[in-house]
């Protein structure tokens, strides 16, 4: 209240409180998505859907993330894609979720981009060797990826490490940049083995290719050069049958001369086969039918009609060879809308009618929400048996899916990154040593990691989800500890669960990622923008758009200016501002202790005359002072749980939740809130809700 402001407020502006109260009503009415009140109404929920019609998710294309994941799921290995290979799909900026199809667009050249990527992926998959799932053979076969346990690289026993920066010294599991050995140990297969296929590629140096020794249970079964520049199958026939305990692949003639003259080895997977000597030989046409019926069922995630199978068989049979036939049929299938679109085939009879998704559609929705990918065979089998929608099975399947490694893609890469705009960190920061630390490029990656690891931990460890706001720990590396003004111990690569300074930080809201994405990119943070953003993301009380006529507020006198807190006091003094700003502003004030990159501060920068920061305010009737007590106030008012549910549901069903559906949302919460519920509980309740497992017929007829 120093400077110019006190003068203005002297002139009888204390009627402010009353007028802002009156304007709240108008503002709330215009608000399209807020929860009407904080309390959960327990009664009359069961009839709510009859009185409040449910929205409708429109048909949509797979987004680029799902498209790539689905190809990975079908072919066992990710397609090699660069940023520009896939078209811009377009996302609705209201929800910001890539699962929301309402703002998907198609440009002229998109079909060509898809076709190019699909052709390339199919060719790569055949070059690497199709997974046994799409094999016609009746032989027993076990495929072990070398990129996941139990494989591990035992050593890089040769220490002729290349010059720093020239190669990643830490090898990926499937990449040997220097001499070393990949070891697969333990009981490898449930069956005996008389043939081994290793999928490898290599780069030569000095004209010499990598030399490799493959051993099965310490017996050398291959000793020679690998000379394929693309992934290829190294087939090793054995003259005896093993029940192997271990398999090792050793690369022993590494040399590094220059970046483009560097001998390296890649190994993607190993297939252990028991070739049945008496196998009945199927005809080409029967083999094609067998493979296609399995492949199309997965790719289309639907039961296959005989006529559709017949069509694809004909496509394959018309080609010159079995392999060419499958390639063509796979390519057509992947460009087909049966693969490319997520849809519900309207099963109702009358316009606007609500009906239950069938089990296949439920499997599809679950898989794209939790994994960002097509359903696996088990989900489809359950759907075929009509059992997936049974409550106990649905619950146990969600638990299984949550424990699967693909959950990270659905939950973190799909949901969290869009919910919290983590992909936009880069555009919030730039090269300006006066504003940002010089290592900001590393730091924004660190921040994304921190938030991802934190939320992954909450989900994996079944922590109550209000810990998202109230956790007294986070996952930090040395750079972030420095940024947070803590002891910068540890390394930049290891993110360690670390206690937070109790007076400064607590939970998600105080993480550098959020504070940077809302940091305004200048030395003047903008608490209004920050408050608005958090209202939208964490509290779901979104003010309406800025009005056409913005009343002019008093300007500071010459040589004076208003601090953020003073500008906000002006908002509450103006009736037409107060209605919307009364929630937006306090949140921003409570976080003023964080600068444009989430560093803690107690004073404003010099342009604000180094004034001390006053981060006290009140929200929803509770006083707070600073970020940690702000987080507490938000948590206690239960808005966060509601808001998280709303965003997660919106992500899962691929559309914005409408105002009239709030009762249905509250129904999701009534079984778990305010107990100490976990993300898992939330996912189960969402999946069982009518919003998730029902679909509405369009108003118009077919």
């Amino acid at each position: 209240m120093e400077n110019g402001l006190s003068r203005i407020l002297q002139s009888g502006t204390w009627s402010v409180l009353i007028s802002s109260f009156l304007f709240l009503t108008a503002c709330e009415r215009r608000s399209t998505i807020g929860f009407g009140d904080g309390a959960i109404e327990g009664d009359s929920v069961s009839t709510s859907l009859q009185t409040s019609p449910q929205g409708r998710s429109s048909i949509r294309r797979l987004n680029n993330r799902e498209f790539a994941n689905s190809l990975t799921s079908l072919f066992g290995s990710a397609p090699t894609l660069s940023n520009s290979d896939l078209p811009t799909v377009g996302r609705n900026s209201k929800t910001n979720f890539d699962t929301d199809g309402s703002a998907q667009f198609l440009f002229g050249g998109d079909a060509e981009s898809y076709l190019d990527v699909i052709q390339k992926s199919v060719n790569e998959a055949f070059a690497r060797g199709l997974s046994s799932e799409w094999s016609c053979s009746q032989n027993s076969s076990t495929t072990i990826s070398t990129t996941t346990p139990p494989a591990h690289i035992t050593s890089h026993f040769d220490e002729d490490a290349p010059p720093a920066g020239s190669e990643n010294p830490k090898a990926n599991r499937d990449f040997l940049p220097t001499n070393g050995e990949i070891l697969l140990a333990g009981d490898l297969t449930p069956h005996p083995v008389n043939e081994v296929i290793v999928y490898v590629k290599a780069t030569p140096a000095d004209g010499v290719f990598p030399h490799v020794v493959v051993k099965l249970d310490n017996q050398t079964i291959f000793n020679g050069m690998i000379s394929s520049l693309t992934f290829t199958a190294l087939r090793i026939s054995l003259n005896q049958t093993f029940q192997p305990q271990s398999l090792s692949i050793r690369f022993d003639n590494n040399i590094y001369i220059a970046a483009n003259n560097d001998r390296n080895l890649w190994v993607s997977s190993v297939e252990l086969i028991e070739r049945n000597q008496n196998e009945e030989v199927l005809s080409r046409s029967d083999c094609t039918a067998k493979v296609l019926s399995a492949f199309l069922k997965r790719a289309f995630r639907r039961p296959l009609t005989p006529s559709l199978l017949q069509k694809y068989r004909a496509i394959a049979d018309a080609e010159s060879s079995y392999e060419e036939g499958l390639k063509k049929a796979f390519t057509v299938a992947l460009l087909s809308p049966n693969f490319m679109f997520i849809r519900s085939e309207d099963q109702g009879t009358s316009p606007g009618e609500l009906y239950q998704l069938n089990d296949f559609e439920l499997a599809e929705r679950l898989a794209f929400m939790l994994w960002g990918s097509i359903p696996d065979t088990r989900l489809l089998d359950l759907a075929e048996e009509g059992r997936l929608s049974q409550a106990d099975i649905l619950r146990s399947e969600i638990l299984r899916m949550k424990r699967d490694s693909r959950f990270k893609n659905g939950f973190i890469d799909g949901f969290v990154r869009s919910w919290l705009n983590l992909n936009e960190l880069e555009s919030a920061v730039r090269d300006d040593a006066t504003l940002f630390p010089s290592n900001w490029r590393e730091l924004i990656g660190d921040m994304q990691n921190e938030t991802s690891l934190f939320l992954k931990y909450i989900a994996d460890q079944d922590r109550p989800f209000n810990e998202i706001l109230e956790a007294d720990y986070s996952f930090l590396n040395s750079r972030l500890r420095t940024l947070y003004g803590m002891n910068s111990s540890g390394t930049a690569t290891d993110f360690v669960k670390t206690p937070l300074p109790s007076q400064e930080r607590r939970g998600l809201l105080t993480q550098a990622s959020l504070m940077t994405v809302t940091g305004n990119g200048t030395e003047l943070t903008n608490p209004i923008k920050r408050g608005y953003w958090l209202l939208k993301k964490v509290i779901c009380k979104v003010p309406p758009p800025v009005p056409d006529e913005i009343p002019s507020l008093p300007k500071p006198g010459n040589g004076e200016f208003f601090s953020p807190k003073e500008v906000m006091a002006l908002h509450s003094s103006s009736p037409s501002c107060a209605g919307c700003h009364m929630n937006m502003d306090p949140i921003g004030v409570g976080l003023e202790n964080f600068d444009n990159m989430g560093r803690f501060r107690t004073h404003y920068p010099a342009v604000y005359l180094s004034q001390s920061i006053d981060a006290s305010h009140s929200l929803f009737g509770s006083e707070f002072n600073g970020p940690t007590s702000l987080s507490r106030v938000i948590d206690e008012n239960q808005y966060f749980g509601q808001c998280l549910t709303k965003h997660l549901t919106s992500y899962g069903i691929g559309r914005q939740i409408e105002e009239r559906e709030e009762r249905a949302l509250k129904e999701i919460l009534q079984n778990i809130y305010p107990k100490q519920s976990t993300i898992e509980d939330l996912l189960v309740e969402i999946a069982m809700s009518q919003l998730f497992n029902q679909h509405r017929m369009p108003k118009e007829t077919l």
Binding site: G90, F105, N338
Partner: protein, 507 residues
């Protein structure tokens, strides 16, 4: 120079007046485009180079372009080179329909659909002259923009039009619009955005790849038949996919079917393109044309890599026009509400913030910084336009005229005064004579009062008069452009409609 990729002898390219493009190149024999009539006159081309967020906010809201010193790169003589005689400086046009869009916002809010904002109203109206209709949540239907009427004159081109958006925006504060309505200014029709690329490698691959290399003696190469085979294979796949679309469509409601139809359209367009390639490649050609080597995968958007990236994109555009792969090229360098933009030496990168200098009551030092930053932006892009004009002037066509002579380049900004968001005054520079159809060297600054709308009073000459002038010069058969027919009963339908061609420009 390493991040400059292929542009090793760029200087000889810039210097080589009268010479063919001298980029080190993969010699490529283009399949000939079908020739119209027997005329040897070079084809006409259109280039739109457009910015957003206004030219600045350091001048008064309706200041004439003559008061804006940052346009000096267009006017100055340097080392004996002036481009002034190739230009028209045109001020005092009005994007009057933006105001209708704003009014419609109020109308629409009352009726359900979501609102518009101060930037969106300019984006969606500027090149279409029509109010965009909101249909459901965020789905804004932008009318066909003027450039696409011109593109339609040349259906046989390998690309009816091409587009670049050098720095697509971010979505941080975009609540009211889908991102696409900010990033894409040029539309084939509602829900049909034109493709705007920002990746030089992707642009190269889309435009210059799949064209068979010529053999050393210049005859069509043997390689072309393999390439044709690959295309034929693609086409057979498309036929089979269309079957699936048809059988699925019968099970969908009409609203869902629309999405499926868009997919089908995309597939059909690829088919048309393949048919074009199959039909033309065997014919020998005299129209040899060189393309650059494939650019490297670009680094991120950083200040230090931005000028090189910009230049590669601009050069690829010039080559595509020179080689007659398209007749219409749209080049956005940042659109309304930009959250992130780059200009060398510019201290601030949030263009939108800069265009509202010193918002949130910042001290004078911040206001000055913002204004000076905006001056840098306007000057930098005016320099780039100057370079583009010189590059195109230095390319000689088959009849001895220059590429510039046969083109019309339009340099515009969807706003004028960045802070006020108003629709009143607009400035546009054009360059080139369009094959003798457009006069150059003009200074036009239209006064207020050209039209008078009920309830609104006097307005300036609508933007659509310029678009109509350009369309007619290309030979589009239209007597008016713009206006919003579906606003039948609101009294707004005529607003923004052209009032006549700009006679001063017509040769």
């Amino acid at each position: 120079m390493s991040n400059r990729g292929y542009l090793i002898s760029r200087r000889s390219f810039l210097r080589g007046a009268g010479a063919a493009i001298a980029l080190p190149s993969l010699e490529i024999m283009f399949p000939p485009m079908r020739v119209f009539g027997q005329s040897s006159k070079p084809p006409l081309r259109l280039v739109n180079m457009v910015l957003g967020d206004g030219w600045g906010s350091y001048f008064s809201t309706e200041a004439s372009y003559k008061n804006i010193a940052e346009f000096s790169p267009l006017l100055e003589t340097r080392n004996g080179v002036s481009i002034r005689s190739h230009l028209n400086m045109i001020g005092g046009l009005q994007n009057v329909v933006a105001r209708t869009q704003n009014d419609y916002r109020v109308y629409a809010e009352a009726n359900g659909p979501i609102a518009n904002d101060g930037h969106g109203v300019n984006n969606v109206t500027f090149f279409s002259g029509s109010v965009a209709k909101a249909s459901g949540n965020q789905n804004w239907q932008i009318a066909k923009t003027y450039d696409q009427y011109i593109a339609d004159l040349y259906p046989q081109m390998r690309f009816k039009s091409l587009g670049v958006n050098v720095q697509p925006g971010t979505q941080a504060v975009r609540d009211l619009y889908s991102q696409i309505h900010y990033d894409i200014l040029f539309w084939r029709g509602p829900n049909q955005p034109t493709t705007m690329l920002n990746n030089p490698r992707k642009l190269f691959d889309d435009v210059f790849s799949n064209i068979a290399p010529a053999s050393p003696n210049g005859a069509p190469s043997a390689g072309s038949s393999a390439s044709i085979e690959a295309w034929t294979k693609k086409k057979s796949i498309l036929d089979l996919v269309k079957d699936d679309l048809a059988s699925l469509n019968s099970k969908l409601s009409s609203s869902d079917r629309k999405k499926m139809d868009e997919y089908l359209t995309s597939i059909r367009e690829l088919e048309t393109k393949i048919q074009g390639i199959e039909g033309t490649v065997e014919i020998p050609t005299a129209n040899a044309c060189s393309t650059p080597n494939r650019p490297s995968e670009p680094a991120n958007y950083f200040v230090e890599t931005y000028p090189a990236r910009f230049e590669i994109l601009q050069d690829l555009m010039v080559i595509a026009l020179k080689c007659d792969l398209t007749r219409v090229f749209n080049f956005s360098v940042g659109t309304e509400g930009m959250e992130m933009g780059f200009v060398p030496n510019c201290k601030k990168s949030n263009w939108h913030d800069i265009s509202h200098p010193g918002h949130e009551n910042a001290p004078q030092s911040i206001i000055d910084l913002d204004n000076n930053s905006h001056k840098l932006i306007t000057r930098w892009y005016s320099e780039r336009f100057r370079e583009l004009v010189i590059k195109m002037r230095n390319i000689t066509e088959s009849d001895g005229s220059s590429l510039l002579d046969n083109s019309l380049l339009v340099y515009s900004n969807t706003l004028h005064h960045g802070d006020s968001h108003n629709c009143h005054y607009r400035f546009v520079a054009t360059a080139g004579k369009l094959g003798g159809k457009i006069k150059t060297g003009l200074d036009l600054d239209f006064p207020n009062g050209r039209v008078n709308y009920p309830n609104w009073g006097n307005c300036r000459r609508p933007m659509t008069d310029l678009w109509l002038t350009i369309m007619k010069s290309f030979g589009v058969n239209m007597s008016t452009f713009g206006g919003t027919d579906w606003l039948m009963n609101t009294g707004h339908r005529a607003i923004g409609r052209s009032t006549g061609v700009i006679q001063e420009m017509m040769a």
